[in-house]
């Protein structure tokens, strides 16, 4: 099988600071990749490179056999991106904003309109379609963003902390959606800090720290290497420099004066 995403020795520097120190990844279609790592490890940078926000990186990125540097437009057509912060033009209404997105992907109008309506309705936003988003809650904005990432039926979906602000019911919908999309042959690139969710939704977990991949495999494989414990514990074991319970103890000692 041909890999759908291939990163070969990807390096990215901000000035003197090395953010990515040579990332190598090969991802096959239908996989749900849980991409995890502590703050500042280079998660967001990897994602931004993949979806074309950062173009001055070193190394090679191939998506479905296309070199990202050679033909970024074809790559972008295959990727749906749900950004981390609820960044959108909030003076627009969901139907205006999503309409705009659809036009950028050049989806025919009739198809786009129906899709937008159906997708928003699935999230229970059909009543808010024509309200300006500046009054929306964080969760509502997040739902609009998720729709905007799926609208053009992409082969690869990059989700950066997609559950933030969502209520429990919507979390169930999104988790369910992720596994159904994967079954449909789509590749999901899932970035998150919520270890319990990553543990459950991903087929394969990639852990990066200080710009390098330090663990890569299914949850079971990680468990067999690191001992039979939760992903949270494995994560802490592999990335924390000092013992975390010491930190908590220090906090408690602060009360002693």
């Amino acid at each position: 099988m041909e890999p759908i995403i291939k990163l070969k020795n990807v390096v990215k520097n901000y000035g003197d600071k090395k953010v990515l120190k040579g990332i190598n990844l090969t991802i096959f279609p239908g996989q749900v990749i849980g991409y995890i790592g502590p703050n500042g490890a280079g998660k967001s940078t990897t994602v931004k490179i993949l979806c074309g926000l950062i173009s001055d990186y070193e190394g090679e990125v191939w998506v479905d056999g296309i070199d990202l540097k050679q033909d970024p437009l074809s790559v972008k057509r295959k990727i749906g991106y749900v950004p981390e912060l609820a960044e959108l033009y909030d003076v627009l209404t969901p139907s205006e904003f999503l309409g705009f997105m659809a036009e950028l992907y050049e989806i025919p109008n009739e198809i786009a309109e129906e899709r937008i309506r159906k997708m928003l309705a699935a999230f229970g936003l059909d009543g808010n379609m024509n309200q300006r988003m500046d009054t929306f809650s964080k969760g509502m904005r997040q739902k609009v963003l998720i729709v905007s990432g799926l609208l053009h039926n992409p082969d690869i979906i990059i989700l950066d902390e997609p559950l933030s602000g969502l209520d429990a019911n919507s979390v169930i919908i999104v988790k369910d959606l992720i596994s159904k999309l994967a079954k449909d042959g789509k590749t999901i690139f899932y970035c998150s800090h919520m270890m319990d969710v990553v543990e459950k939704v991903s087929d394969r977990i990639v852990l990066i720290n200080e710009g390098m991949v330090i663990a890569d495999g299914s949850f079971e494989e990680l468990q067999s290497q690191q001992g039979n414990q939760s992903l949270e514990k494995i994560f802490a074991h592999m990335t924390a420099k000092e013992s975390l319970s010491d930190a908590a103890d220090q906090m408690m000692h602060a009360f002693e004066n």
Partner: protein
């Protein structure tokens, strides 16, 4: 989408075939431009921002509003057509107005229109080519500028056609276009300069200082220029007699107009024409060729992850000067306030008012207006002599009193603005911490404003007065000082019913009567002071009373309870 935007989109999309040949995706181009215009239409512009918004309804015709505003500004420029006898002088002045005002409006808009950081996240991951996106941006800027320029020159167009006929209009339009290009270059140059000397993080703060300076200069210009130039001289004024005029681009445009309408091919006029055609294009070319690439990169850094790295580096650099500032603040705050909530509030308001861009944008221009006012006052009374001030007769009295009481306006301004913030939601901690007397918070804030905006001013006034007049001014000075405290405290007692930086600007219920009272109090006290100025015994007694009264009012503010204030968390 209103008719104006639709018209502009239609116009810029006319050469679609050419765009397509250039390799631009016309469909995406149209969509991006349309959406950007729709967003602009719902965004409050600079004029909206500086006013206190009363209406709660969403903004939907911002375009129309700013167009009317710029037509209104443009009609002011017509003054220039009543100066001197020759068109070169008149048009030089006209183009000076035009370039200055256009630059000052655009400089503000550019930060919101050009540097919309959301573009990066929203549009860049979409399959749109760089060429299409850059071109869409260019068209958007073009439309944005046309919306400012067209209404702005409209009054002049009408006047020109009415006075000189339609044929002299065409060169004028061409030259306006060139002047606009030059203005864009000026702004770009300024941006590049700022980005060179500072970090992208401080960029917006610096741009807002420029806006403040522009606003003050603008106001000063309108107030002062007509007064400076006396009428007879104005009618005789001829810019050509002044060699320095050659340094001013408006002069070239005026000369070029003269050449194009009269066809006198004299050497100076030809030079003017050459300058006004080539310099704008040359400067734009320079910007695109040499500055633009690094410019865009730096602009993207304003939002980019670059900032993360520099944050960690910064505290080290400032470590030296922090203790000094803090110790001054802690000294001054322990002098004026009681320990606890009041002192906390004093320090917090002091820091917030120095750091919040929002606050500075609203208050500092009014400081500038105040200075302009004072200057005008002195100029109107050009009979004032130092002797007058020295022996405190007639005008000397008036000057002294207005100097003392004018600053009230500024303090009131600062007090009114103090309760607002963009980050008003951050005021949650006032409600979650166990504050028994919320009055302490307000008294601390009021004292902070007095210490920050009044003390430096009164110190300078006092020193100057003592040097010029001598110790005999002391009773009046003290009376003025106590009165000022009394005024500020009373107004705070009446009108400050919210925690500092806890209200959103949009949801203000502005109270006209409150505002009137706030103006009336200082005016009437100033009048009283004027009347008893020379009656020493009365002055002494009132001075004492005023001091006691302000202390009592401040105490009353301090003891305000939760019930006295309309405090509720704004969500």
């Amino acid at each position: 989408m209103n008719i104006i935007n639709r018209f502009f989109v239609w116009v810029v999309m006319l050469p679609s075939n050419i765009y397509e040949k250039m390799g631009i995706n016309v469909h995406q181009l149209r969509v991006v431009v349309k959406t950007k215009l729709l967003i602009d239409d719902r965004r409050p512009n600079t004029i909206h921002q500086t006013q206190q918004k009363k209406q709660k309804k969403p903004i939907s015709f911002a375009t129309l509003g700013s167009m009317i505003m710029s037509a209104f500004l443009g009609s002011f420029f017509l003054i220039s057509f009543f100066v001197g006898h020759d068109m070169i002088t008149r048009l030089t002045i006209y183009f000076s107005f035009f370039i200055f005002v256009l630059a000052s409006t655009l400089i503000a808009d550019f930060t919101s229109v050009l540097i919309d950081i959301r573009d990066n996240i929203v549009i860049l991951p979409k399959p749109i080519s760089d060429k299409t996106f850059v071109f869409a941006r260019l068209l958007h800027i073009l439309i944005h500028i046309s919306k400012m320029v067209i209404p702005m020159v409209l009054p002049a167009i009408i006047l020109l056609v009415y006075r000189y006929g339609i044929f002299k209009l065409i060169p004028f339009l061409l030259l306006t276009g060139l002047a606009t290009l030059l203005t864009i270059f000026l702004i770009n140059a300024l941006y590049i300069f700022i980005l060179r000397v500072t970090t992208p993080e401080r960029f917006k703060a610096i741009i807002s200082y420029f806006q403040i300076i522009f606003a003050i200069t603008f106001y000063a210009g309108y107030q002062l220029v007509p007064r400076l130039i006396n009428k007879a001289a104005m009618e005789q004024y001829d810019i050509r007699s002044n060699i320095w005029a050659w340094l001013a681009p408006p002069y070239w445009f005026a000369g070029a107009w003269e050449l194009l309408t009269s066809f006198q091919f004299s050497l100076p006029l030809v030079i003017c024409l050459l300058f006004s055609v080539f310099i704008p294009f040359l400067s734009i070319w320079v910007v695109i060729k040499f500055f633009a690439p690094s410019f865009n990169q730096k602009l993207s850094m304003i939002s980019g992850s670059g900032s993360e790295t520099s944050i960690s580096a910064q505290p080290l650099k400032n470590e030296k000067d922090v203790p000094l500032k803090i110790s001054y603040l802690s000294k001054i705050s322990s002098f004026f306030t009681e320990k606890g909530a009041e002192r906390m509030s004093f320090q917090q308001v002091w820091k917030m008012s120095s750091r919040s861009r929002d606050f500075k944008m609203k208050v500092y221009p009014s400081l500038g207006y105040l200075v302009v006012y004072l200057v005008i006052m002195f100029m109107n009374n050009n009979k004032i002599s130092l002797a007058d001030i020295k022996d405190q007769s007639g005008r000397g009295k008036i000057i002294f009193i207005s100097l003392i009481y004018f600053s009230s306006l500024m303090l009131i301004m600062a007090l009114n603005q103090m309760i607002f913030s963009e980050k008003y939601k951050a005021a949650w901690f006032y409600y979650t911490t166990p504050i028994a007397k919320p009055g302490r918070i307000i008294s601390g804030a009021v004292k902070s404003m007095i210490a920050k905006f009044y003390l430096p001013l009164i110190t300078v006034t006092a020193i100057v007065a003592l040097v010029i007049v001598g110790p005999k001014i002391l009773p009046n000075l003290l009376f003025g000082l106590f009165n000022q405290f009394l005024i500020t405290c009373s107004i705070a007692f009446i009108s400050v019913k919210e925690f500092p930086f806890s209200q959103s600007q949009n949801q203000v219920k502005s109270n006209f009567i409150r505002g009137m009272v706030s103006m009336f109090i200082p005016a009437s006290i100033a009048l009283l002071h004027y009347m008893i100025y020379s009656f020493m015994p009365v002055l002494m007694i009132l001075c004492l009373l005023s001091g006691i009264a302000s202390w009592l009012v401040m105490d009353a503010i301090k003891n305000k309870s939760w019930d006295d204030l309309n405090l509720s968390y704004q969500d």
